[in-house]
């Protein structure tokens, strides 16, 4: 096959801008990545607790329905009637026994089988469908499903490795720190549409280098980040990784005497005149995850999913592609059924740092848009990823782009670029 892009000879330290903007590459991503051997987060079991419950979700740009058929069975069905292609289900969530197409009333049960076909034998013996028409072969397209401690993932491919192998041991361990098997309680959704490419987000989640420089909130309020202990753990393929960092709250305790002027001098945003919060209690964190109470994690799961555990906020976010230049970000915030009211209050307050109005993520959203404006107008350009060397190994320092390079190592393999 003709190569869609010639990757620069420097290899892992370069990313050609065309991967963010070329419609042909975008189309291949849908086929090879999102409809290929990937596990795509589609929701939490807590969103569909009873048989008959359903929610709407997406695998890449494909709309799907996540339906609880029974206690033990969750199905993920393509939200498209096989007759004419009409989208069956419009509401975000509900409870039903069947999904009926509004056009000709074909109806499907919770595992996608075609159960109702009005005028199957026509009217007065004329018309209708032949005796050979086999309802069994005209059901909704159904994806492969795996669940892991309350999180539901779907794949178009039967050959996607089992979930534990897909994440690799280090990433599985951090995934299970949050998804430890306790029943989850959904706290809500945030959704926004951002004019950027989906990979720009994934890169951002994998990049500890930018946090100190861009996220001024912490520096402004005297919370030191540049020197914070950081670990980057990357799975063997390179696709998934976890960023483990000291909690901002721990850093706050240590702030004044730990600030090194040689670091501060390099940060334009650095202020000697720290502002103080009028309501410092927003940074109060209740202890959980006692085995490692002082760290926060940001985990990215191949291809486009991230799980955060920061302060007391827990959430999953998806960067859903909507063409090369647009994404929808869907966030699901949650806690545990066993949370105390105080813990729930913390989780809700700490959501202020995340989402479209996030005190931290707000900065990122603006950058993602500006990033797309740059790459889309210069398709011949390349991005340079040289922070922290040129490899894709784990790291124990903050100024590194190793996980971003690893992501593109995997990306190139899957995309054959």
């Amino acid at each position: 096959m003709h190569k869609l892009v010639t990757w620069p000879s420097e290899g892992l330290t370069r990313v050609p801008h065309s991967v963010y903007a070329d419609p042909a590459i975008y189309e291949q991503e849908q086929i090879r990545i999102f409809r290929g051997r990937s596990w795509n987060f589609v929701g939490l079991l807590a969103e569909v607790p009873r048989p008959g419950d359903f929610v709407r979700a997406y695998v890449g740009e494909t709309p799907v329905i996540v339906a609880r058929e029974s206690e033990s069975q969750v199905n993920v069905l393509v939200n498209r009637c096989p007759h004419k292609g009409v989208q069956l289900c419009q509401e975000w969530a509900g409870h039903t026994k069947t999904f009926a197409c509004p056009y000709h009333q074909w109806s499907f049960d919770l595992n996608g089988s075609l159960r109702g076909l009005p005028f199957r034998r026509g009217v007065d013996g004329a018309g209708g469908f032949s005796a050979e028409f086999d309802c069994g072969s005209h059901g909704l397209d159904r994806l492969h499903v795996t669940t892991h401690n309350g999180a539901i993932f779907a794949s178009f491919s039967a050959d996607t490795p089992d979930f534990a192998r897909y994440l690799g041991p280090a990433n599985l361990m951090y995934f299970e720190r949050v998804f430890d098997g306790r029943p989850l309680r959904v706290l809500g959704k945030m959704r926004h549409r951002v004019a950027t490419n989906w990979k720009t987000l994934v890169e951002n989640f994998k990049d500890p280098y930018h946090a100190t420089l861009l996220h001024v909130f912490f520096a402004t309020f005297g919370i030191w980040r540049a020197g914070q202990r950081t670990e980057v753990r990357i799975d063997e393929s390179g696709g998934s990784s976890t960023l483990v960092q000291q909690s901002p709250v721990v850093l706050q305790k240590a702030r004044a005497d730990e600030i090194r002027s040689d670091i501060a001098d390099q940060m334009k945003v650095f202020r000697q005149d720290f502002l103080s919060l009028a309501e410092p209690s927003i940074l109060k964190v209740l202890r959980e995850f006692p085995e490692d109470e002082d760290t926060v994690t940001m985990q990215t799961l191949w291809p486009n999913c991230a799980v955060h555990q920061n302060l007391n906020s827990l959430g999953v976010r998806l960067a859903l592609p909507r063409g090369p230049h647009m994404i929808e970000i869907h966030w699901t915030f949650f806690g545990y059924e066993t949370d105390t009211p105080e813990m729930t209050e913390r989780r809700l307050l700490h959501a202020n740092f995340f989402g479209p109005a996030g005190l931290v993520t707000g900065d990122d959203i603006e950058i993602w848009q500006l990033n797309q404006r740059g790459v889309a107008t210069t398709p011949s350009g390349v991005a340079r990823l040289e922070a922290g060397g040129s490899g894709t190994e784990d790291a124990d320092f903050v100024i590194t782009e190793t996980a971003v390079r690893a992501f593109y190592k995997h990306y190139r393999k899957i995309m054959e670029l």
Binding site: G188, K189, H192, L275, A278, A357, L359, G362, I365
Partner: protein, 157 residues
């Protein structure tokens, strides 16, 4: 007639509050909130599902002050002009205080070199009290009609 005067006074509070934000006068905007107050932005989707998460949630005045400080001093925000159209102000409970008041809003955004676009549409669902003789918001809940926000929501509504 008293009722009409009160409604007029509430309307003026809504108008001034919107104008302060449109003009980027965040400190002035803070002045329209009572000493004990809360401010939050929700989506209709979350409210309908009974989910408590808010896009922005300030449960007291201190948090509101910090949010304004973050907007002014610590956030990277692409420059824009915002225009708030507030309409249909009504008293749901009153004239005894605290009042429960509602209004519809539409916010338009204009970025440098771009035509104006509609940003968000929704409803204010508020509690208004009188403090030192002046009407102030004791609670302001903004409920967005759409579950999806375009790009970012850096400023209060």
């Amino acid at each position: 007639m008293t009722h009409l005067n009160l409604l007029f006074e509430v309307q003026a509070l809504y108008t001034e509050c919107a104008a302060a934000l449109d003009e980027g006068e965040f400190e002035r905007w803070l002045g329209y909130f009572a000493s004990e107050c809360s401010y939050s932005i929700h989506t209709k989707e979350n409210i309908d599902r009974g989910w408590p998460i808010a896009l922005m949630s300030c449960t007291n005045r201190g948090m509101l002050i910090d949010r304004v400080a973050a907007v002014l001093k610590s956030s990277f925000i692409i420059a824009r002009v915002q225009r708030r159209i507030v309409s249909g102000v009504r008293l749901r409970e009153g004239p005894e205080f605290p009042l429960r008041t509602q209004a519809s809003f539409a916010v338009f955004e204009t970025f440098t070199g771009e035509p104006s676009t509609l940003f968000v549409v929704g409803r204010f669902d508020d509690v208004v009290c009188r403090e030192d003789g002046v009407l102030k918001f004791a609670q302001r809940r903004c409920v967005l009609d759409s579950s999806i926000v375009p790009n970012s929501l850096p400023y209060p509504l």
